[in-house]
């Protein structure tokens, strides 16, 4: 039953895919992304000299507060003459250290991500999103690391800098064996995020790529926080968090395919559903919208950036549009909680 054409993501409706549905070369148009830049608003810590604002004073290009000149300690070349003239006391202008950015991307590879009806599975769309964000954050010395959340463990791909290393990371994500349906293990998205919070202490950017669906969860009320919300909130205390929600068109619009036995790749759910029932389909679409709204509200509450990508749309364009808009809203969106430095 092998299909002659290249992708075959549609077959993921019947059985788990056997491999990636998109080649490495098509993950992201590197050249086109060169002029875009991901806005980093949170301050970073690190050892190297980079392009982003650091947390602590040090040699850098960004000016900070002026303070009284300490003879013997401060460089006279740093005296701020305008302030000295106004106060008649010699002042120096401090600078903040410029640091490198460390980005960690958590990819959800649980069986529900091995699904897609429009040429690419959600998992591969997630990898493409990581590729795009990776190329957007390729500045001097910036490092990009990856984590893959399997049902039974979280795999870590070490952070390295440079586009070659990024390609290596993406290739590893693509060739990672597909998790079979009903694979043993009880890791949930919240566990994966907690693992990332614990294992990567250095401030930076965190990208979470998932469908944000909890298996078997039928809650629609946005007031009820989803199980992963607390983990995202904790992660956002010290990091700039970007959540990439990958969905398929037919998750949002239940297709009319007659009476079908439908089962879940993760839970034991299996039953016949008559998808030709118009009223039921309308109810389902409304419920799905409410569910996605709940995800959106929960991510906003947790102080994380939120991109929704669809398998039937051009993810590069969607991310580019998001990044352009993000320049304006990032500062407000990623306000740290009270008592935590920016």
């Amino acid at each position: 039953m092998a299909r002659p054409d290249e992708s075959g993501a549609e077959w993921s409706v019947l059985r788990p895919p056997t491999g990636p549905t998109i080649p490495l070369a098509r993950l992201a148009p590197e050249a086109a992304l060169r002029r875009l830049e991901l806005t980093i608003v949170r301050r970073l810590e690190g050892f190297l000299h980079g392009d982003h604002l650091g947390l602590l004073p040090g040699a850098g290009s960004d000016t900070n507060d002026a303070r009284v000149y300490q003879p013997g300690q401060d460089d006279v070349r740093k005296i701020d003459w305008a302030v000295t003239a106004r106060t008649t006391v010699p002042h120096v202008r401090d600078t903040m250290a410029d640091r490198e950015l460390e980005v960690w991307a958590l990819l959800d590879v649980t069986p529900s991500m091995n699904w897609g009806t429009e040429g690419v599975t959600k998992r591969d769309l997630g990898i493409a999103a990581i590729a795009t964000i990776g190329f957007l954050s390729q500045r001097m010395g910036d490092r990009f690391g990856g984590m893959m959340m399997l049902p039974d463990q979280v795999k870590r791909l070490p952070a390295r800098s440079g586009r070659t290393a990024l390609y290596g990371l993406l290739r590893k994500m693509l060739v990672e064996p597909i998790v079979p349906d009903h694979a043993p293990g009880d890791l949930e998205l919240a566990d994966g995020i907690e693992h990332m919070t614990r294992s990567q202490r250095r401030r930076g950017m965190r990208v979470i790529v998932s469908d944000f669906l909890t298996p078997g969860d039928s809650e629609l009320d946005p007031e009820v926080p989803p199980p992963w919300e607390k983990a995202v909130r904790r992660l956002a205390v010290r990091n700039q968090v970007l959540c990439v929600e990958v969905v398929d068109r037919h998750e949002l619009e239940l297709p009319d395919v007659g009476e079908m036995l439908i089962h879940d790749p993760e839970t034991s759910f299996a039953r016949y559903v008559n998808t030709s029932d118009d009223a039921a389909r309308r109810r389902m679409d409304a419920a799905t919208r409410a569910q996605r709204e709940r995800v959106r509200v929960a991510l906003r509450r947790a102080g994380a950036g939120h991109i929704q990508l669809r398998t039937d749309r051009d993810w590069v364009a969607d991310i580019a549009r998001f990044v352009l808009n993000y320049r304006r809203i990032a500062g407000m969106l990623h306000q740290p909680p009270q008592g935590v430095s920016k």
Binding site: E259, F269, A280
Partner: protein, 319 residues
Amino acid sequence: MIPEFENPERLWTLLLLPVLVIVYLVLLRLKGRVALRFTNTGVLNRVVGAQRRWTRHLAVAMSLASLVALGLAYANPLGTERQPRERATVVLVVDTSLSMSAEDVEPSRLEAAKAAAGTFVENLPESFNVAVVALSGRPSIVVPPTTDRGVTQRAIAALELADGTAIGDSIDAALRAVDQAPPGEDDEEPAPAMVVLLSDGASTEGAAPDQAVSRAKGRDIPVFTIAYGTQNGFVDIDGQRENVAPDTATLERIAVETGGRSVDADDAESLATAYRQIGSVVGYEDVKKPITAQYAFAALGFAIVAALGAVMMAARWPR
């Protein structure tokens, strides 16, 4: 009711059905493995709720019913159909014992019986051979089997009272009369024979009827009996009044054992009715005819319903 079949050995094909059912169940199992994957089943289950599932069962049940009907049709089921008989020999046994002079039936039992028998003979198809046997102490064949109705009618009209009632001997006489029937012209097989026995009293002479009955049964000749007269009919014989009630139990037993039918008659009208009833049985025969078409039609109906169910289930119903 299980019909008869012309080719009952073909019913073995019905054994395929359990095999089909097993294959269906196995396929269901396999299908369960390749079911549609869907990620958001928690919400789906909550939203969709209980749906009617009867179309699936209907389609499967109807397919099976259709296959059963087809299997039965393949075995050529036979139905019975009433057809007017072409030819037959009817032996009319009329009681002429003294009890027939009783007058509980107007004008007397014998006269009424003669009239009714005459009408009965008249209404029989012309090709039937009719013989008349007078039932008395010494039964005799009054008219051997003949198609000449005039002879028969005259003989019936000329019946006279005689002594005694020998039912067993009269059945034997009737069987002898059957033997005298002329053979068919084109086929050697003698025409089917029937005995219509009218009696108004218990057997008083001769052998008990049982042996004669078993002989009739052995020759496959049904004996239709008419228990004639009222329970309080009487005759005056030699100045003594005697009750002459019909022996309904014996007559009924005779009829049942030989595969005939027994009727009671206690006046002229009910006697005519009794003869009409017997005439309708005697004049027709049950013929086995294949009714394959009916079964095929039932199978077609089931198949159409099953097909509609399958269409509803599998594909989009046109709206």
